[in-house]
Structures are given as C-alpha cells and as structure tokens.
Symmetry: C4
Amino acid sequence: MAATAPSRRARAYAALRYPDTSHVSRRWRSIHLLVLGIGLLAIAASSTDGLPTWLTQLLTIAVLGVAFVFTAEYAVRLWSAPESPRYAGLSDGMARLRWAVSTNGAICLLAALPLFVIALGTMRADNQHAPIFCIIWVLSLARHAPAMGTLARVISNERATLTSVVVIFLMVLIIAATGAHIMERDGQPKTFGTLPDALWWAVVTLTTTGYGDTVPLTAGGRMIGSVVMVSGILVLALMTGILATGFAEEERRREYLRVWDQITKVPMFASLGTVTLSEIVSKLRVRNYPPRIIVVRRDEPGESMFFISEGEVEVRLPRGAVALGQGAFFGEMALLDRLPRSATVVTTRPTTLLVLYASDFYEIAANIPSLVEAVEREARRRRAENRGEAATVETT
Amino acid sequence: MAATAPSRRARAYAALRYPDTSHVSRRWRSIHLLVLGIGLLAIAASSTDGLPTWLTQLLTIAVLGVAFVFTAEYAVRLWSAPESPRYAGLSDGMARLRWAVSTNGAICLLAALPLFVIALGTMRADNQHAPIFCIIWVLSLARHAPAMGTLARVISNERATLTSVVVIFLMVLIIAATGAHIMERDGQPKTFGTLPDALWWAVVTLTTTGYGDTVPLTAGGRMIGSVVMVSGILVLALMTGILATGFAEEERRREYLRVWDQITKVPMFASLGTVTLSEIVSKLRVRNYPPRIIVVRRDEPGESMFFISEGEVEVRLPRGAVALGQGAFFGEMALLDRLPRSATVVTTRPTTLLVLYASDFYEIAANIPSLVEAVEREARRRRAENRGEAATVETT
Amino acid sequence: MAATAPSRRARAYAALRYPDTSHVSRRWRSIHLLVLGIGLLAIAASSTDGLPTWLTQLLTIAVLGVAFVFTAEYAVRLWSAPESPRYAGLSDGMARLRWAVSTNGAICLLAALPLFVIALGTMRADNQHAPIFCIIWVLSLARHAPAMGTLARVISNERATLTSVVVIFLMVLIIAATGAHIMERDGQPKTFGTLPDALWWAVVTLTTTGYGDTVPLTAGGRMIGSVVMVSGILVLALMTGILATGFAEEERRREYLRVWDQITKVPMFASLGTVTLSEIVSKLRVRNYPPRIIVVRRDEPGESMFFISEGEVEVRLPRGAVALGQGAFFGEMALLDRLPRSATVVTTRPTTLLVLYASDFYEIAANIPSLVEAVEREARRRRAENRGEAATVETT
Amino acid sequence: MAATAPSRRARAYAALRYPDTSHVSRRWRSIHLLVLGIGLLAIAASSTDGLPTWLTQLLTIAVLGVAFVFTAEYAVRLWSAPESPRYAGLSDGMARLRWAVSTNGAICLLAALPLFVIALGTMRADNQHAPIFCIIWVLSLARHAPAMGTLARVISNERATLTSVVVIFLMVLIIAATGAHIMERDGQPKTFGTLPDALWWAVVTLTTTGYGDTVPLTAGGRMIGSVVMVSGILVLALMTGILATGFAEEERRREYLRVWDQITKVPMFASLGTVTLSEIVSKLRVRNYPPRIIVVRRDEPGESMFFISEGEVEVRLPRGAVALGQGAFFGEMALLDRLPRSATVVTTRPTTLLVLYASDFYEIAANIPSLVEAVEREARRRRAENRGEAATVETT
C-alpha cells in the first residue's frame, strides 16, 4: 500500500500484528505457539511433586527462556508501537506510552514478568504462584484465533434473545435449588442443607454435567431433578438455535467483505459496474492456500472454477507445466462441459483464490451474460490451443 | 406520543412497565436487580448453619429492607394501574381491583409478604420456609428478559414437531426404564428394583447427565443404556434442529417490526412508497446504544452505514466535533469508497441507529437507485466540505 | 367432503383414526391418554415392594380396567377397519383380517392382552412380567405425535450424512475402547480388563454421559478419554447441524401443503391463478385454535392479519360483538395503518386461521397489487362503517 | 461409459471401489461388513478371561478366516490397481507399486497381517496385542460412509471460526485448570495437587461429561466449575451453530451436482438451455431406491412428482400393472389436481428418481411455462386414456 519500501520498524510491527500476511509473520506465529507450549508444559510439569532437583532446575531454565522470549517481544512491540494506525498523530514517545498502558501492553508486560521474578531469586518454577503465569500466558493465545471478532459480533447481535435464555437459566437454577433444598435438606443435610449447596447441585444438573457428588433421593427431589435436566437440554437447544441463526447471517456478511477485498485484483471483474459486481461478490468464496497444495486433481469431477486474486499456480499437463498468475482463472472447462478435470493444478506460492461453484455460476449466468461469454471465449481459445499445439496452456 | 405532558401517575406507570424507554425506568431496573440480588443472597446466606446471632439479625434486616422495597413497588403499581391500556375504559378503583387480582398483581403481593410475616414476629430470615421467597422473588426476573416473547412464540410455532420429540422422549424413557428394570432388578434390587427407580435412571441417562448413582451392570442393561444415551443425543439434536429453524424465521419477523417502528423517524425514507419501503425495512437492523459508546472508530475498516432514528451522535474530527441528530446518516463514505472510517463517532445520548450492511446496500442499490443517489449526493457534499474548509462536518 | 351423511361405522373410524378433526375424536384422544396414564402408573406402583394387599388388588383392578378399554378399542377398530381407504376394494371380512394381521392390529391386540391373562388367573399387577405391558402400551403413544412423519422424513432425507456421522461414532468408539483397554487393563483389570468393558466406558464417555463408574487413571488413558469427550461434542454438533438443515427444508414443504389445503376455502383467493396462488401459499401460515381462545387483543401492537379458512370468530367491540365466518379476514388495519389492534378477537368454535405476517404482506404487495387493493377496499369500508354508525363491524 | 465391455479386472476394480454402482459391489459391501463384524466380535470375545480352550481355538480360527478374506481383498486390489484413473499413464507394475506404498495400500496390508502373525505361531486371538487389529480393521469402515467428504469439506470451509472456538476451548481449559488447582490443591492434594490432574478435571467438566471422580469442594472452586460448565454449553452451542450453517450451504451444493449428473438422462429436460436447466436442477432432489420399494401409495395425499433417471417402476392399477422406464415421469396428477394418488407405484429394479416437490413445481411454473405445459399435456393424455380404456397407463 505504501509507495516507498516499508522501514525496518514498520516490518517488525506488521510481522507481530498481522500474523497471516508474510513469511516472517507466519514464522513468528509458529515460534510464539512453540514457546507458549514449552512454557505451559514446563509450569505444568513443575507442579508435580517429588521431581529430582536437576529436573526442577531444567524447568526453571525453560520458564526463564520462555519469559526471555516474551520480554524480547515486549521490547519489539514497544519500539514499533508508533507504527500503529491507532496512534497515528502522536510522537514516538507518546505512542509507546499509550501502548504501554493499554490492556494489550499490560498483558505483554505481565507475560514477561517471570524473568525478573525468578532472576531476583524470589521464585522458582515449582513455586506456589507459578501457575498464575499459565493464565497470563494463555491469554496471548487469543491472538491466534482468526474469527474471534465474528464470534463476538454474533453474540452481540443476538444478545436480546441470549439474555432471555440466561434469565430462564437463572430462574430455573434458583427455583430448582430452592425446591431441592426444601425436599432434601432433612434427608441429606450435608449436600442439600444450605441454599449454596443446593445451587451447586442445580448448576451441575442443569448443564447436564452430573458429577454425582450430590444426588436427590426423595421422590419430590427426583422430580425436580428430572425437570432441571430436561430444562438443561432445552436451554442448550435454545442457545444453539439462536447462535446458529446469528452465525448464518454473520458468515454471509464476513464472506462478502473478504471477497470484496480480493475481487478488485482480478482484471476481468474490474470493468463491471458496482451493482453487477456486488451480485457476483455474494457468490464467490475466498480460499487461502499455502504453497505446494493440490487445488484440483486431474480426472476428478469438477464442481467449481477459480480466479487467482493473489499468488501463482502451476497447471501440470502431460506436456509440461504452465504457470498462471494474478488475475487468471482456471477450472472453467469442468463447468462448461461437465467433464472431469483435465489437469492437476498446484499452488507454487501462498495463493488466494476466489472460488465460483457450479450452482452459483449458472445463477449468475442468467443475470450477467457478459461474464459467461468472457469465460466461454477464454475456454474456446484454450481448447483450440490444446488441440493445435503441445506446449500451451490446457487448464483444468 | 401524547400531545400533553404525561401526568405523574402516567410517568410512574411507564417507568415500572417499560424499563427501556427512559432514564428513570433504566435506573429503576438497576435498583430492582440490585435489591433482588441482595434479597436472594441474604436468604441463601441465612440458610447456612451456625451463623452468629448478629449476622442472622443483619440478614433479617436485609430481607426486611428488600421486602419493604417490593411493598413500595406494589403500592406504586396498584396506584398507577389505571394508566394501563388494558383497563382503559374502567374507573380507577375498578382498574386497581382488576390488577390486584391478576397474576401479575398476585406475584407482586407475594413478593411483599415477608415484611408482614417478619414484622408479625412469626418468622426470621433463617426460618424453615424462608427459601420459598427465593422462588417468589426470582419470578420477577422474567420482566428483565427482553425477548421472552420471541422464545415463547418460537416454541408455540414449532409445537407440533416439538410435541413429537417429547412423545419420542417419553416412549424411550418408559421403554428403557422397563427394559433396564427387567434386566437389572435381580442384580441391583436397591437401584433398579422398582419401576420408578428405573425411571429415574432413564431420565438421568437420556439427558446424558449421568450422575452415576444408578448404573446398569449386566450386558443387557448396558446395551439398553447405550441405546438410551445415543437416543439422548438424537433427541437433543432434533430439538435443537427444530428450534434453530423456528428461530431463524421468528428473528426475521421481529426485526422487521422493530425497523418499521423506527424508519418513519428518518425523513430520507418518508417520501418512499410503502412497497419500496418494505423492501428497505427487511435490510435494516435496529441497534440501541447507551450514551458515550463508540459506534465506529477512525481507521478501522467500515462495512456498514448508519441512520439515526432517535438520539444524537458526535463525529470526532481532528478539527473538532460535529453533532448529528435524528434523521441524519453517517458512515456512507466507507461503503461508497471502500476506505477505512475517516472519523470516530460516539453517542452522546441514548441513541437508536438503523444499520445498513454493505452487502445489503448494494442489493438495494440494484432495485432502488434513488436511495443510492441521495446517499451519494450527500457524500459528495461532505467530501467537498472536507476539502474546502476545516470546521464543517466530515462524517466517517 | 362426502355428500351423504357418514355412517356410524365411518364416524367411529374417523374418530379413532384422525384425532384432530372432530369433537368426538378429541374427546377420545383425552380418554386414551388418561387411560394410558392410569395403566402405566398402576403397573409402576405395583412394582414397588411391600404394598398392602388391598392396594395390590386395587392396582390389579385398575390394570384390568385399562385393558378392558383397550379391548373395546380393539373391537371398534376391527369393526370399522373396512372404512380404511387402504382396504378400499376388499370385502368387510377380508379388510378386517388384513387389519388384524397388520403391525397396528397386532399392537392393539397385545395392548388388550392383560385382560385375558389376568382373567385367567395366571397373572397379577405385581407379576414379574407385568412391566412388559408398559412397553406395549406406551407404543400407542406414537399415535399422539402429530409430526412423527416429519421427523422420519427429515432423518430419511439426511440419511447419507447421518450414516457418515454414525460411522465416525462407531470408529471413535472402537478405537477409543481398544486404546483405553490397552492403557488401563493392567491398572484396572476389573473395569477395563476386557474389550466389552472398555466399550461400555467409551459409550458412556462419547455421549458425554459420564457415570463415573469406569474412569481412566493413567496419563495415556486420560488423553484418549479427552479426545473421546471432545469427539462426543463434535458428533453431537455434526448431528444437530445436519438435522437443523434438514428440518428447515422439510418444514417449508409441510407448511406449503397445509396452507394449500386451507386456501381453497377462502373465496378471496379462489379467483387467482395457480402460479399467483402458489406464491401467496408460501407466505401464509396455518394455525389451529380451540374455541374461546383470544387470537388478538385490543391495544396490543399488530403484526399480522388473519384469513378464516374454517370455523368462526367473534370480534368484541365496545358496541357489541360481531361474528366473522369462513372466508372472512380481520386484523388488516393494524397492517395498513401501523396502529394497535382496535378490538379483541376470540374464537367461538374450533377454528383454522391463515396468518399473513406484515413482513410477508408487503413482499406480496410488490408482486400481486390486486390482493392489497382488495384488502384496502375492505378496510376502507370497515373504517367508514366504524365512523358512521355504532353497531357495525370494526375489526382489529 | 466405456464403449467396449469392461474387462474382468476393470469390473473387479469397480466392485471394490464404487460399492453402490452394481449388484456385485453391493454384495461385496455386505460381505465386507459381515466379515468385519465377525473379526471385531472374535477379538472382543477373546479379550475376556477364563474362556475354555475350545472357544479360544474357535476364535483364533475366526480371526484367521477374517484375515484370510482381507488378504484376498489385498491381492485383488493390488492386481486391479492399474485400473485406477489415478495411475492412468503408468505401467501395470508401477501402478501396483504406487498403490502398495499409498496410505490405502498400507492399511489394507495391515488388515491382512494377522494371518501371517498367527500362522507363524507367535500369536493367538487372546494375545496381548490382538486388540490392535480392532483399530486397524475398523479404519476400513470409513469406506462405507457415503458423505465423509461432505463432512470434511464443511469442517474445512468453517475452519476459521472452528479454530476460534477451539482456541476459546483451550483458553477456558487452561485458565479453569489453573484456577481450580490453586483453589483446591490444599484441600484435595490427590485430585487437584498437580496441573495435569486439574486439567483432567477441566476437560471432564468443560465437555459436561462429569465423571465425578474429581469434584471441587471449596466455594471458589465450585464457582470456577460453574463457569466452566456454562462455557461447555456455550462452546457446544457455538460449534453446532457454525456447523449447521456450513452444512446448509454444502448440502445445497452437493445436491446440485448429484442432480446435474442425473438430469441429462431425462429426455424432457434435454432440449432446455443450460441456464434454464440450471434453475430446474436446483429444485430437483435425487433419491435412490432398491427394488420392490413402494414409492407412492394409492389414496395417500401427493406432494411431489417423480422423473425416472435410471431403472424402472411398476404402476399398479386395478386393471393391471404398467411399467415406466428411464425418462418417464409419474405423480403429476396429484400436483395438478390436488387429489390423492390414483395408483401405487413400486420399483422393479434399483431405480434413481428425481423428485420435484409441489412447492418448487409452482415456483418453476412461474419462470418456465414450457415445462408445466409439457407436464399438463402428458397428464391430459393420461386422463383421457384412463377414461377411455382400461388397460392403459393411469399414473398416480
């Protein structure tokens, strides 16, 4: 996007912040996950009793190493904070201060803390308070969840109905706990003797977890219990029903925006008007592929065609391989002629493809004949080439 | 809506009845939830054994205080009952009597009861029957569930299929209980010796709760148990599937009516015919925001535009803030130019916005070009202003 | 439907076979459910030990009574079997024989059996084999599940994907059982010592029932257990997802046919062509109401209008009540003027209504202006009447 | 498809590879499932202690027999490997080598292994390592899951959102385990003393399995437990919601391709253009029926018509039966006249039908009048024939 080459600091920022955009950031992501895994395992292991001293020391060193990586990450993030668009108008020092006091900055600092705690001799990996680092470290896992925003938005959109389900949940919980308490308190004073105890039973039962540590024994208590269990199923079914509905709508919107970002890179679509374009957009699907992935396989039935919006693929023909770059398309013959794929297509670089399924292709065809014509013209040209000479493109 | 200022009684009625419409009613809702929480906690705490006398007395006072609030609520509700549209043609006294004998009135009275019971010295917070108030009080929680009507309607609409699932549930239950009873009664007479005992096992198993207090031990009993567990999953899946389908349809309808109520307040839409309007209505979403909420954030990608149907927002530009009131719209540039938001927009009052997503905007565009033109004209004007001078509106 | 009055036998057949169509059949359904409940309770009670002799005798009499009712039902069904369209071309005797040897006939006979068994002195209500009647009797409950066919069709339509989920279920089950058996057999030979034992654990875990009677203790066993539990969630989610999809489609189709059966009874729609009609049909919903049910309530917001396809309603106006019969419609003013309902409408007989929601009304409006015009013309007439004189129809 | 008769080897390949296409392959599938079942049962039985020697020997022979069948299967598959389109250009030997080293080949070889192991005297059916064969054998069950590809594709398409749910799952797991460990380690050092122990509790609770072997006892631990259980419900609801959405879309696409493969066999549709055809395709459903299945039953209400794309059906009329072959259609009268079916239709051979539901028929009717005309012309002809003479076609 920037016309000049990005600075070292901008690249560091991008690598840490957008883990999917470049080779460096993907590698950083793998390292982060590995280090996180080692850290969690080391703390988990050191919580076990009776370890030999050498192992405790080794685990302490591992935790120290993990904390060192997180300290380095904190330093790089702090240094590159001025690159964030959020602190665009501010001076470097001010931007760093703002980041340091943000929630993100605080979590990063907490993740780095063990280094100093252990270095100062106050703490070892098998310390009483070491497990707390598990909680702090695992919070950074949220960065690796690509669609967390989607989940949050669905829950937010459906909050009115979800709140109602939660209110029902609470009402069933309290009424059931009170009822069971009244029924069972004389027979089982230890497990149903107080309302909080009965509430614990109600939660365990309503979520259909059913530990079995507290179980009603009287006929009345068992009847209440049965109602609570069935309510548990109903609450789960209601919640799922609400979320499924919310997801269907949100997914449609997300995909729309993802496609819109990619479609401008395909010259074929560039000339179409906004309204026509918006109709095609709703039919395309974005798929990201790493290198060396087989997209279509020769002789398999074909049910979609592909537009390359980023990257490159290799069409493997008996007569040699042909490369197709950004803006090209392939797989159209399987759609037009209803024949199996005529070649295997493999990605050579990280590639973003726009997929158009057969069912949607014909739906578009009815409304935008020009698109179908363009595809058919290209397909005719390729068929002619295939027949004429050996070393030319024969797409799947 | 009423041309004259509402009376004190009408305002009291509205505050208690429609908790979302005004500042007073929102505050009342918070107080009600707080008092309810205190009451439930006090009764829960006093059910514990061995509390010191001073704490028991404190809890008794807390319950008394809660009951006093509910008594006051009852009085106000009784006084303002004639304002209810349901008792419109009746005299004040008659309306109050009708309300007092309605279900709602009876629950309100029961909630107030402890005051008198404790005041008359017959009862303390740690009394045997105190927990019953938990049940009575928690019923009023239902008033805080905004979409309870939606849930009820979905269940009612799908009652034919849900009844079938319940019948299947009952059949599996009784057949499984009988089968397990026959298989296990000789080996485990204590837990499977009678049909009611076996029925308890079947409920616990079919809901996949699985306490483990009664477990089949014979091969036959375990086979029946396996079938029951798998049936449990199937029953849950069927119920969820039915409810998900019902929800999708109901949600579509509810939203439609909510939007219709709001759309008449936006002048831009006022001139459109009913048929055109009904098409737009199905694409808009209603969102209610409290004051001081960031609706869009500068530099974030934009995927929707907003119409203000109630309240006011502040557009924060580097050159100062601009207020937009009822009927205005913002966020259209992000849609038209596919650029990030150019300003942060914050609500200054409780505000109702109509949201139009990018995917729907272009769908409408194809059918109602006049709407898109109006939006584009306004956007052009704003862009020109932004370029020309500093202190004018630049919307996100 | 039949031009001549149905015979006594035809009415008996219809009452037993179509429980929703008439007063007699609805009463028969209530009696059947009551008798079934008494029978199940009597057998359940008599399975308890230590009952006094008089109670055992009373229960035996109850079972005898229930069996007598079922014997009578069997006799009536056998007598009226020739009315079934399935045995249309056959002689009376042949039709009865065919019914007697059908599954339905066999179940009916088995339900009647206890009468003879007990009468012959071989058996009492607290007999060892009495519980088997629970299973036989509860099978007849299936007749009261109105949408059992829908469930069966959804499962059948999705059988390919459901089979795959079942295959995954079985594979996870066997692999997990084998793995846990290998891991745990040395430590817990009693619960994991044989493959069938391990399989029982796997079923209990995969369905997330979790009795806790068999629990892995080794690290390896617990890892397998964790995978099985998560698989359990995934299997449930897959099954639900498949069924939800199937239900959405089936429900759409069922409703379509139900409406089609009713729409021909409304004269307003009779003149429309098949294609236009089929579009309206997909928007209407069928609702069956018993007598004395409030369909719409005065002053509540209205979001739908109603067409009467069967039965009668009473419109309660301040100036008196007005009856509307088959073919009439009401509730259109709330749609056209967006005002609350102007009257309460109550059913006077079992009534079938076709509901048209506001959201769908306007969608139809765009395509079938003639329908909207007809509704508006009627609404204008009613409004004029309301203004003009007191005793005329003012619909909600 | 091939013009010449397929060779013996090609038929062997097809029978093993496409179990649904022919009589031989369906029989092979039954044998495979039977042999697999015997093998699994034999190994399960031999894991039980204290069996008599003769039974152990019998089970060893059974396992040997099963392994022999799998060895024979391996040999046939190896021999017919050159027929696979995947190894099309290679020599016979090379194709066999490539298949032998593929995953599929390796699993087939492992399934055959017991023969040699037992034959060499190193192992008996009650051997310690025998259960491993259960795992190997059960893997081949995956071949019998028709829609496994659909499941895989749905999960792959929704992987972004599913990954987020898994990340949430892991975060809740680790945070809850750490929290419960800190709360409970002093009170219950045996079950919550180490982090791995606490993690086991967290998995058992988050999946709502709830064995009850480890249960929190402190108030803090129980609060964490309650949050974990409710999170478990939420995770399940999220996962289900995501998969339901994915399934709805995938199912639509799969069906589209299945219909497309069949529709070309019906002459009626052959003359239509690609775009018109693609619209019809999206409304048809493919149904495969074995021989002697009743497709429609006389006097039942009809809600769909059928096109025969493969096979043959028999229309059973009072005046005799009429056969309808590929390309014919039936059941259209029920759609056009809204009357019950006028005849019973039974398949005589394995038959593939294209189903068109009433709701979709009228939707198509609006857009493709020519199709409806063709159906109505045929229906008129049949009605005339029915009236005129006795032995001609009268379709349902």
